[in-house]
């Protein structure tokens, strides 16, 4: 068991003929992901990395029954790719692309309201991996091992770092989910934690947050209402300087939330152990 993704999930890659798309599609296949196709407009009917290529996501879904997609297209085209996937009936969309303009993502988020069954991870995220079963995105399989720890993170490399520390300590993972580092994101910490809560194969949880926004505070509130998962939280950026801010608009809406201190306090109030360095996570979880 796992959340969002298992070995049977039918996965496509949008932008599969690009350099990044090709490389990671192969890596995904290599670990056993049920990769059923890819899209690349104008190359429909051909085969690439051993899977059929379609001109549109709708065609790919119709032909292969795909329900999940990894997006590896350049930032100028990624917003449209996300909306295309949702409109075609894809229910799990992991957008790996980095550098998408914020206003584009705000419009995408509004569009997705019309597709309530479509879940978006990212953008600017490493995707997700269910160790030993399947992955969408770029999380290296090597740092993972199957087990019962759920890991959800905003940062890419910190996810790898913590994943490998857990694996080295013999604490395998049910699923590792990267929600992405952009200001405007798809799934939140709370969304992912709610899924781990319901997953029988997950009994412990690691949350890796960072400064900015208040998704961590919301996750802490959720955990504070009661959880069966033994949880450790880590927040990076406690010593990062405050941004050289311009104007008051940001401060008006965020107030005192968003700092490492506010996030750590929220987790502590919720009864969640807070690691001060990533090295402490394994110890606090055992």
């Amino acid at each position: 068991m796992s959340i969002l993704l298992d070995a049977s999930t039918r996965v496509i890659v949008q932008g599969i003929t690009g350099r990044e798309g090709s490389f990671h599609a192969e890596q995904m296949k290599e670990m056993g992901t049920n990769l059923v196709g890819g899209t690349s407009p104008g190359k429909g009917g051909t085969t690439h990395v051993g899977v059929p290529i379609f001109n549109t996501v709708a065609e790919a879904v119709e032909t292969t029954g795909a329900t999940a997609s990894g997006i590896f297209v350049p930032p100028a085209f990624a917003p449209d790719a996300i909306m295309e996937a949702a409109a075609a009936g894809i229910t799990l969309i992991a957008c790996i692309t980095e550098g998408i303009p914020i206003q584009d993502m705000i419009r995408v988020k509004d569009f997705l309201r019309g597709y309530p069954s479509a879940r978006l991870l990212g953008a600017n995220c490493p995707g997700l991996i269910t160790p030993g079963a399947a992955k969408i995105g770029i999380i290296p399989q090597r740092i993972t091992r199957p087990g019962s720890v759920g890991l959800v993170s905003r940062s890419g490399t910190l996810t790898y770092e913590v994943g490998s520390a857990l694996s080295a300590a013999g604490m395998g993972q049910s699923t590792i989910v990267g929600i992405g580092g952009d200001p405007v994101l798809g799934m939140t910490f709370a969304d992912v934690i709610a899924l781990f809560e319901k997953d029988k194969a997950t009994d412990r949880l690691v949350v890796i947050g960072e400064i900015g926004g208040s998704d961590e505070e919301h996750a802490a509130e959720l955990l504070g209402r009661g959880t069966r998962l033994k949880t450790v939280a880590f927040i990076s950026g406690r010593t990062a300087p405050e941004g050289k801010r311009m104007g008051h608009a940001g401060a008006i809406i965020s107030g005192n939330r968003g700092t490492a201190k506010s996030k750590e306090e929220a987790f502590r109030r919720a009864g969640v152990a807070v690691a001060e360095t990533t090295d402490q996570i394994v110890g606090l979880l055992s």
């Binding site: 930032p75 100028a76 550098g99 998408i100 303009p101 914020i102 206003q103 584009d104 993502m105 705000i106 419009r107 988020k109 509004d110 770029i138 290296p140 090597r142 740092i143 905003r154 940062s155 890419g156 490399t157 910190l158 996810t159 790898y160 770092e161 490998s164 580092g181 200001p183 405007v184 994101l185 890796i208 960072e210 900015g212 926004g213 208040s214 998704d215 919301h218 880590f234 990076s236 950026g237 406690r238 010593t239 990062a240 300087p241 050289k244 801010r245 311009m246 104007g247 008051h248 608009a249 940001g250 401060a251 008006i252 809406i253 965020s254 107030g255 001060e276 360095t277 990533t278 090295d279």
Partner: protein, 380 residues
């Protein structure tokens, strides 16, 4: 990209918003000339950061001589790390009331938020924390923008019902900066109602999404070069690095923003202070490592460098070879500690050791090591 006030006002004017007459002055003489033609002026430091009023960066001048003296004091002044390159001399306004108007991204709501308050001016953040209800808010649909009836309600909710017509017209103009210019913050504070009952932008803040600069080359060409920030940040930008200067003495390189931030945290925990934040991204390619080292070594305060790399797909031996080459090319003599993990990390560590670079067993140990090495050097 954060625009300076005069640049933001030029943009607002191009959207049809009234601004007071004003002139840019690079020298005290130009400021005097501006005052001679405009009458009494406010001489305002142009820096892409808030709080310039409190830092002494705004002075009123009623004569050309006063304007000259004000400009002499302000040009070259340091405001929060920015050397003031020029001043903007703007005709003084006859103020009847001050309104706050801003639009920005609300991360939690994953939407743009428009805010309007009758209590504009310097203390708007205090107003926000003490009486948040006095700031009216609207989340416009991102595909079509705000509608007239929504703006009408916003004005009435802000207690500005008698101005709802002209405010709706003005807000629609300001909002164009969102879809058309990819603004992530567009703020007018104060929005001044003059004694003649005109509505004029007293100040303006405009920040354009860096991710969207590819579709606003014109703005970049017109305004990008004027802002004189931190010299290392300027150089880093030229080299395409994600770099922020800090005030410590230990240079930091990490791959990934989260890992890099947590490295700063570790250095502080070990008793040191980071000189910078530098994220070289996922791949840690040799040329990027060399660029990062080059920028960090420009800073004479730096006494040593800590590099924290987690290679997911990148091979440790390749990172190590790239780092050794970069160090040799730059003739770097300062202590360098590297924490490297990932594919082929053993081979990578061996290469580092052969070349006299300290590998740390883990990030915490590496942080302690660089603090020790740079501290020892300082005492010597």
């Amino acid at each position: 990209m954060k625009l300076l006030e005069y640049q933001a006002k030029e943009v607002l004017a191009s959207l049809g918003i009234s601004i007071p007459p004003g002139r840019v002055a690079h020298t005290p003489d130009e400021a005097a000339a501006a005052c001679a033609s405009l009458g009494p002026v406010a001489v305002k430091a142009q820096v892409p950061v808030g709080g310039r009023g409190k830092a002494g960066g705004i002075k009123l001048a009623s004569t050309p001589d006063e304007a000259r003296r004000a400009a002499e004091q302000i040009i070259g002044m340091d405001i929060k790390g920015f050397k003031v390159p020029l001043v903007y001399c703007e005709a003084a306004l006859e103020i009847a009331r001050e309104i706050y108007l801003g639009v920005t991204v609300d991360r939690d709501a994953r939407a743009n938020i428009l805010m309007l308050s009758s209590k504009g001016g310097m203390d708007i953040e205090q107003v926000a924390s003490e009486s948040p209800e006095s700031i009216a808010r609207l989340y416009p649909n991102p595909w079509r923008g705000p509608l007239d009836f929504e703006l009408n309600a916003l004005a009435f909710n802000a207690g500005l019902g008698e101005l709802s017509r002209p405010l709706s017209v003005l807000i629609k103009k300001l909002y164009r900066a969102i879809p058309e210019l990819d603004a992530v913050t567009a703020e007018i504070n104060p929005l001044v109602v003059t004694r003649a009952n005109e509505i004029v932008a007293g100040d303006a803040k405009l920040e354009i999404d860096d991710n969207a600069m590819y579709r606003h080359r014109d703005l970049d060409e017109r305004y990008g070069a004027v802002i004189e920030g931190d010299p290392y940040e300027v150089e880093a930008k030229k080299r395409g690095l994600t770099y922020v200067s800090l005030d410590g003495d230990i240079g930091i390189i990490g791959n990934g923003a989260g890992l890099c931030m947590s490295t700063l945290d570790l250095v502080q925990r070990a008793g040191g202070r980071a000189a910078n934040f530098c994220d070289i991204g996922g791949g840690a390619r040799a040329e990027v490592v060399e660029n990062a080292l080059a920028v960090i070594l420009m800073n004479p305060r730096v006494k040593g460098v800590l590099m924290n790399v987690f290679g997911g797909i990148t091979r440790g031996d390749e990172v190590a070879k790239g780092l050794v080459t970069a160090r040799d090319n730059l003739k770097m003599k300062l202590p360098l500690v590297v924490r490297m993990s990932g594919t082929r990390e053993e081979e990578g560590r061996a290469i580092l050791k052969e070349n006299g670079i300290e590998p740390g067993a883990n990030a915490w140990e590496a942080a302690q090591k660089i603090v020790e090495l740079t501290g020892a050097k300082a005492r010597a």
